[in-house]
């Protein structure tokens, strides 16, 4: 580990800290404020869209109505994307003449993009036409992020708004929230930062692939396409689906240190900002900062562990005359080095992004354990756009509940009592996740059609399986990519895991919002457990870690942990 490396990590964290408040403030104005920003430019677009959709901010929905709108909209998204992929050879903007996408792959991809996972069983350059990339996939980057944001807002409203005159507190309207998230947040930021990225060398054109003759006379095909517009929303919306197979390690997606810094920042910005937004909604910004604090501690620990692991020479190469002072460079780019690769890996898996600038499969066992653990904790280390906030709020409720049990008082959060019904929904949320991951992983690990896709033998093979299903269920989309998931079994099971991990977890969240919206707010008394200080932050961190450890420790031991100890003793697979 070098001073330079630490400086880069620290710089990123400080910039993130600096943008959290202004961005959080901006989002508060957009979603909760009496008046929205940018009355001249963006507000007319919003009004126009709302009118065309026949939606109105005054049209408040109950949690069930909200859930139904979300599910219908997502179902349409899956169907449309499936259709475009199957028909791409009949549609325009296909200069490479690519054929229709196979049914199982098209299902997997349609689900993957709708659920904000952006798992890619295919390689972008050789499978998807420009039209498919743009009209089939790109818009999901906006709406799946918007949908996640909407669910987080509903939960935050349920927790913070007060019921009036016997009627439950208002939760908002799905279409209004979705439109606002796109018009005020995702689109303008994408345009501004997209141009910055393009200025640094990310391509944005509609040309056919360029055939060149290299300096030594060998031919090379330089891929082209509108990568820039997808690149920025890929990070900003924590989507992660790359334009190219190699994702953000591809020089056309991430050409230098500056773009890399910016991409990491874009991944973390909205999830971090939302904690401040939540604090404002709760009427006390310290409530938000205490959540931010828990996320920040987990984030820095993750970066530290990954950076330390990747800096050390790979024991499997011991004895060879090799200068490994730059760290484990297999699967990493020279322009990022180990520090920025560890940083990106931690950011992309702590959120639900899943873009990669280095190949997690080739990390050392302990280095690879960090992204895997981040996913297994439920992506609450800043988390996805929206998904991070509602994920951590579920853990907040759990922490408050545990604290309540310890002191023997009815647990309450922000003055609202937490009772049996809410806790059942919380437990549903907490249990669905490992249930999907562990069942599918077990199935894959014992079936010949499951293990035949592995690229690596021994415990690392198990890590690949675990990572794949965790990434799918957590809607992340990054991979231990040696695994070939473009088979009937993997495409189908992972598609189901993504659907379950998205909607079986969103519905309990919306339900909790609905239950909490009905509760009265009791003033805080001397016996109230404070949820806005370092004590609570510490408790929250332990609950996140304990729940994750209790569920996944055995599986992780059989994968990366055993691999680490065997590799340290020179055992190869």
């Amino acid at each position: 580990m070098t001073f330079n490396g630490w400086l880069q990590i620290l710089a990123l964290f400080l910039v993130l800290l600096a943008v959290t408040k202004p961005l959080g403030q901006y989002m508060f104005r957009v979603f909760e404020g009496a008046e929205r920003p940018s009355r001249r430019v963006l507000a007319p677009i919003e009004r126009w869209l709302l009118r065309l959709c026949g939606a109105s901010p005054s049209d408040e929905q109950s949690w069930i109505e909200y859930a139904v709108s979300l599910l219908i909209f997502s179902a349409i998204g899956v169907l449309v994307t499936y259709a475009i992929q199957r028909l791409q050879h009949h549609l325009p903007f296909n200069p490479q003449g690519l054929g229709p996408v196979a049914p199982d792959l098209a299902f997997n991809t349609a689900v993957s993009f709708t659920t904000n996972t952006n798992w890619q069983s295919y390689s972008g350059e050789t499978t998807m036409s420009y039209l498919t990339q743009m009209a089939g996939l790109a818009w999901h980057n906006f709406v799946s992020a918007g949908a996640g944001l909407a669910v987080a807002l509903v939960l935050a409203r349920g927790l913070t708004r007060r019921p009036s005159e016997g009627r439950p507190a208002q939760l908002g309207n799905f279409i209004v929230d979705l439109i606002r998230s796109i018009v005020y947040l995702l689109l303008p930021f994408s345009i501004v930062f997209g141009l910055v990225l393009i200025s640094q060398g990310i391509i944005q054109n509609l040309s056919a692939y360029l055939h060149v003759t290299g300096l030594e006379g060998a031919g090379q095909i330089i891929p082209m396409g509108p990568a820039g517009s997808q690149e920025v929303i890929k990070e900003l919306g924590t989507n992660g689906g790359g334009f190219f197979n190699a994702n953000s390690s591809h020089p056309f997606e991430n050409p230098n240190g500056l773009t890399n810094f910016l991409e990491i920042l874009l991944i973390l910005a909205i999830p971090a900002g939302l904690t401040y937004t939540f604090g404002r909604m709760a009427g006390k910004s310290r409530q938000g900062w205490s959540i931010f604090g828990a996320m920040a501690v987990l984030f820095l620990c993750g970066v530290l562990a990954a950076y330390a692991a990747e800096t050390r020479p790979n024991p499997a190469l011991a004895g060879l005359p090799l200068d490994q002072s730059a760290g484990n460079l297999e699967g990493k780019e020279v322009r990022f080095g180990v520090a920025n690769s560890a940083l990106f890996a931690t950011a992309t898996t702590g959120t639900s992004c899943g873009a990669v600038n280095s190949m997690h499969d080739s990390f050392t066992p302990l280095g690879g354990l960090v992204p895997l653990t981040n996913l297994k904790l439920g992506e609450v280390v800043f988390g996805g756009v929206g998904a991070g906030l509602y994920g951590i709020l579920i853990f907040v409720l759990l922490s408050v509940f545990i604290a309540g049990l310890m002191v023997g008082r009815t647990p309450e959060y922000l003055g609202k009592k937490i009772e049996g019904r809410e806790m059942k929904a919380v437990m549903l949320y907490v249990l669905v996740f490992p249930l999907i991951i562990l069942s599918f992983s077990a199935w894959a690990a014992v079936s010949p059609y499951g293990v035949s896709s592995l690229n690596n033998a021994g415990p690392h093979g198990l890590s690949e399986i675990l990572y794949a299903f965790t990434s799918a269920t957590a809607n992340n989309g990054s991979a231990f990519a040696g695994l070939n998931t473009n088979t009937h079994f993997w495409n189908t099971t992972m598609g189901l895991a993504m659907l379950g991990g998205r909607f079986l977890m969103m519905v309990p969240v919306l339900a909790i919002a609905g239950f909490m919206a009905k509760k009265r707010v009791a003033p805080a008394g001397p016996g109230t457990f404070p949820t806005d200080g370092p004590l609570f932050t510490g408790l929250l961190i332990s609950v996140v870690l304990i729940v994750g450890a209790l569920t996944f420790f055995p599986a992780l031991c059989l994968g990366p942990v055993v691999e680490h100890f065997l590799a340290a003793h020179g055992r190869l697979f």
Partner: protein, 336 residues
């Protein structure tokens, strides 16, 4: 129903905005303000034709050019990708060792600065490993997957093993008896028994491609037993190293033998470039018919001028862009 129609309208509007308007806005501004970057940062050769992208590695094999990092996709820019080998995967060590064998040099001792490769050949020809004969057979027995990988590596290898299998029905029949699970064995299945037999028939030799010139002046390549060469140095360097653990060798920069994530990493570390400097300078000196010491100094200058660190040199390890440097050398010294 109410939601369904609203959702469809919303979907149509969103697609219109974010899939058509948004990329086109970025496209229009990008093409106007940053045309070079938006179109792939293409570099042009001395003849004015495009030779590649500044951001995309291309293969270099000739001595006079700096070589990029290894690529798991053979620098196929339209199909980027990594090796995805786990750090404890045997294939990773094998690949690294095989790249090291032909390039490693002595760090000290009487042969300081000289390549190890000739010594590997001599050692290999003795056909002894850990005190037992039949080195190639030992290698294949200990590393089944490497032996199989050799058979699959090239069509000509498979053909050679097929030819051997046809001539050795007894051995293949025995193999089928021992492995009842495999109905139709292919060439790779016979890898181990093939090398066992090869090692006994041709002690101290290894099958490799040899080029012949036919009567009509064409060059044809055939697999034949050989006693020396890169195939031997690559495949057996790791075993040589086991028996010569105390040989003091120069450390090769890691990025020279570790494949990048994209397979298209346009940079190498400055360390890596300096490691290649002697070879590159000697080759240009020969082409341009100049003194080697002068050329070396000039090429080193080119390297140092082109060396950058991420963030405008503020932080990170120094690196050079391979294509830019090679292009500059080509402009400076000419050559084919």
């Amino acid at each position: 129903m109410k939601y369904l129609s609203k959702s469809l309208v919303l979907l149509g509007l969103v697609v219109g905005i974010v899939c058509i308007a948004y990329p086109l806005v970025l496209w229009a501004i990008g093409q106007t303000v940053f045309p070079e970057q938006a179109n792939g940062s293409i570099l042009y050769g001395p003849d004015g034709k495009p030779v590649g992208s500044r951001l995309i590695a291309q293969p270099f094999t000739k001595d006079e050019y700096f070589q990029p990092r290894p690529s798991a996709v053979s620098y196929a820019a339209e199909a980027s990708g990594p090796s995805n080998l786990g750090s404890s995967n045997y294939a990773l060590r094998a690949r690294v060792a095989s790249m090291l064998g032909p390039i490693v040099k002595y760090q000290s001792g009487p042969k300081v600065g000289q390549p190890v490769a000739p010594d590997i050949d001599l050692w290999f020809q003795k056909d002894q490993y850990q005190g037992s004969p039949h080195l190639v057979a030992q290698w294949a027995d200990a590393h089944n997957s490497l032996a199989q990988a050799w058979v699959k590596a090239d069509a000509s290898h498979g053909k050679y093993v097929d030819g051997w299998a046809a001539a050795h029905p007894n051995e293949t029949a025995q193999w089928s008896k021992d492995n009842p699970g495999t109905d139709k064995p292919v060439a790779a299945d016979f890898a181990v028994i093939f090398f066992d037999d090869f090692s006994k028939t041709y002690p101290g030799q290894f099958p490799a491609a040899v080029e012949h010139r036919t009567a009509d002046g064409k060059t044809v390549s055939a697999i034949e037993p050989v006693r020396e060469g890169t195939d031997i140095q690559s495949n057996f360097f790791d075993m040589w190293r086991q028996e010569h653990a105390d040989a003091d060798l120069q450390d090769v920069p890691g990025d020279m033998v570790m494949a990048s994530g994209s397979g298209l990493d346009p940079h190498i570390t400055l360390k890596n470039a300096l490691f290649q400097l002697d070879r590159v300078a000697a080759a240009w000196a020969k082409i341009a018919n100049r003194k080697e010491a002068d050329t070396r100094k000039e090429v080193e200058e080119v390297l140092l001028q082109n060396a950058t660190a991420p963030f405008g040199g503020l932080v990170g390890e120094k690196m050079v862009n391979v294509l830019e440097v090679n292009l500059e050398l080509r402009r400076r010294y000419g050559g084919a």
